[in-house]
Homo-oligomer: 223 residues x 2
DNA sequence: TGTACATCAGTGAACGCGCGTTCACTGATGTAC
DNA sequence: TGTACATCAGTGAACGCGCGTTCACTGATGTAC
């Protein structure tokens, strides 16, 4: 399921993959792994969560997948590509969650803004490792275009939501600024949460309340 | 100067240190270094900036200080302690900057809140490595009590400022919540800035404006 | 002022480690005839 | 249906590397007499 999202280019072979997988169930312990690529991605994601993006190691991922340390290089260019795969997948899933959470609420309602913030922070606290990976390209130099593009389109989405709250169908400068304020806020809230900077749960109120409070102070309810 | 802040316990020997240092200027290339400890801290800070907290290495710091790799262990327990030293020093300097920047403005004025935010973000963009080090104890397990205490007292300071804006002399629940909102905001703003998540300077307005805007929306001007 | 000595900040060599990546290889698979 | 062969996903051993930390040591310094 996850693979369908990540590797959109091989979606067409999904049926084949399932068949292969079924076959594997029956003829256990084969030389060819069958689905190593996605299993390595899973291991990478797990490690990123457990040890943080910076302490991820290819070797350990191999150990978890029960495979030699040379195996990944049949599927990925290098270590960075494995991490990028996980980051992009995270971006996509976060976007999907946003769309899903926003859907029930009518256009232009503040509830949609709140929903976006809720997903953002929830994602961060649920998958802090991946979240960090997504938003911290800390001078590694190796920035990923894809990742930036996904981030940008997400930001545009928020801007559009703000515009709708103002009863606009197109984004104005005011919307850009407000969307930016909202984003900064949930971004900071996320990092404060996962870094435990709020020692002993110093967050003075619950997530839902603080999101509502901020939304109220920044965007109006349309019409 | 920096050492005076960091190593408060040895401040009394400041004069000795200066004399030693002067002597060193004259009798160059000595076996005993004279001021290795603070020089190692400087090297650590520089490396944290250049490569990020996670890519810092003791060996490289030694190379920079022109000293064998065993030397640091005469001054620090281990690698973690070197980093902690830099983090705590950063915390202290950030606090000092806050006090200085707030000073010119009258109590209870929104300008003080804005000043706090300005220092916060400016510190992050000026020393992104140290900033990350200060606020990201990413599951290393080795949390530093001192660091937490400094963070907590800073948070309390902000709360007090918010209280004063409401004309109070003691912190109410409302102040806690508002201070938390403000903190989240500048924290997120800082990370967005240093992670370059705002690709091609996507920040839709300048720092001063956005800080003023947020302050206006969260705290009143007293009386 | 000169000498003996304790102190301690430095050296440099060594350790064991885990890492990312490469290489020639091997064995399973799918396909053409 | 059976055989020959190309493909390719895996192996396992090896590489060079930089790391954090330790150890016995050495040489400069400050102090007591």
């Amino acid at each position: 399921m996850l693979e369908t999202l990540t590797l959109t280019s091989i979606t067409f072979s999904e049926k084949d993959w399932i068949m292969k997988n079924v076959k594997e169930q029956t003829t256990r312990k084969r030389y060819h792994h069958g689905d190593l690529r996605s299993q390595l991605i899973d291991a990478t994601r797990a490690l990123v969560e457990e040890r943080g993006p910076d302490n991820f190691s290819v070797s350990e991922a191999c150990r978890r997948a029960g495979v030699s340390t040379a195996a990944p290089y049949k599927h990925f260019k290098d270590k960075a590509e494995m991490l990028r795969e996980v980051a992009v997948d995270g971006m996509v899933r976060q976007s999907e969650q946003m769309l899903a959470e926003v859907a029930p609420h009518p256009d232009g309602s503040r509830a949609r803004i709140i929903a976006l913030g809720r997903v953002y922070v929830r994602f961060a606290t649920t998958e802090p490792g991946v979240f960090r990976l997504m938003f911290t390209w800390s001078g590694d130099g190796e920035e990923d275009e894809n990742l930036h593009a996904l981030g940008d389109s997400k930001f545009e989405f928020v801007q559009m939501e703000v515009a709708k709250c103002h009863g606009r169908t197109t984004i104005a400068q005011e919307d850009r600024e407000k969307a930016f304020m909202l984003w900064s806020f949930v971004h900071g809230l996320s990092f404060l949460s996962i870094d435990g900077a709020l020692s002993d749960n110093k967050m003075p109120t619950d997530l839902e309340t603080v999101l509502a409070e901020i939304a109220k102070r920044i965007v109006p309810e349309a019409r």
